[in-house]
Symmetry: C2
Subunit: 153 residues, 2 copies
DNA sequence: TACAACAGTTGTATCACAGCATCATATGTA
DNA sequence: TACATATGATGCTGTGATACAACTGTTGTA
């Protein structure tokens, strides 16, 4: 096998390992909210309070669909609807502390699990991982937010 | 920041990039089947034909729920129910060619996207990525199949 | 001021998912 | 053979996601 294919294999394998980490980090949250709801929470955590229609747009759902989802999320205590002082026909959606913590918990858990894995790497090899990950990230660039949202992350 | 934290940061960033790749690879499939259905397809592709109850168990759903999902998947042309010659009260579920191709397409796309990223890495740095990914994967171990299934992969 | 455009919600309908209870059939055993 | 058990399918019910159409209230403008 070529060196290139070997590198691809290794990266695919690493992606599986990282996917496992991400999946576990999201699993707990998915027992509290649905995937469409988690997408909304992630959007709000990333971009701050937003108009209802804006969130519908970014979530890729019909405004009426979002309105219903927002109802459930308000009932669940994850978000709040607040009046927009600038325009009374617009509604701003914000995270409640619970909503913010749900998202923060996912991110923390992901980071701590990754740290746990790296802690098992012999110190002298960690620099290699650091370089390898940096080089890969640089080549990959930042993923589109819309792509990440597919999986709720 | 400590070297350890820097490595963690870099790995978290790489995980985002890889997650983007995975999400895109799954996105097309999710326009054809639902997430619970994709889980079934992935299970079948990984482990071969299985009993209905077995699949329900591994999917983490009630047998009756799976039965209904299987109905839809049969109607969609993704799976087939075949008689188990060994026991007439058991039903084996198998992939159709379409089902097999759907899963294969996800895996191929993921691999080819990763290869595309690595192609942008200068050749002399690829060895670093190879080593880094191998070291990380070794420390992480294989993720539990159940964890991967959460995100349908 | 009158009216068009806009933002969001609500009425209505459909579909997937989920589980409990129940049933029909097949299998194994006393 | 009779009966308990196993396996999967169905009847029923409830929740969530989804969209279209219609409606309410707001804003901007002719």
């Amino acid at each position: 096998m070529s060196a290139f294919d070997e590198t691809t294999d290794a990266t695919v394998r690493a992606s599986r390992a990282l996917l496992g980490v991400v999946a576990r980090s999201v699993a707990a949250a998915l027992e509290e909210v649905s995937l469409p709801q988690l997408r909304v929470l992630v959007l709000l955590a990333a971009t701050g309070p937003q108009r209802s229609g804006e969130l519908a747009e970014r979530s890729g759902v019909h405004p009426s669909t979002f309105s219903r989802t927002a109802d459930r999320m308000v009932a669940g205590g994850w978000i709040r609807r607040v009046d927009n002082p600038a325009s009374r026909r617009e509604v701003l959606v914000t995270l409640t502390p619970a909503g913010r913590e749900l998202v923060a918990g996912i991110i923390e858990r992901r980071r701590s699990e990754i740290a746990g894995i790296l802690a098992r790497v012999p110190r002298r090899q960690r620099a290699v991982v650091l370089d390898g990950m940096r080089i890969f990230s640089a080549a990959a660039g930042e993923p589109a937010a819309a792509d990440l949202l597919i999986l709720g992350v």
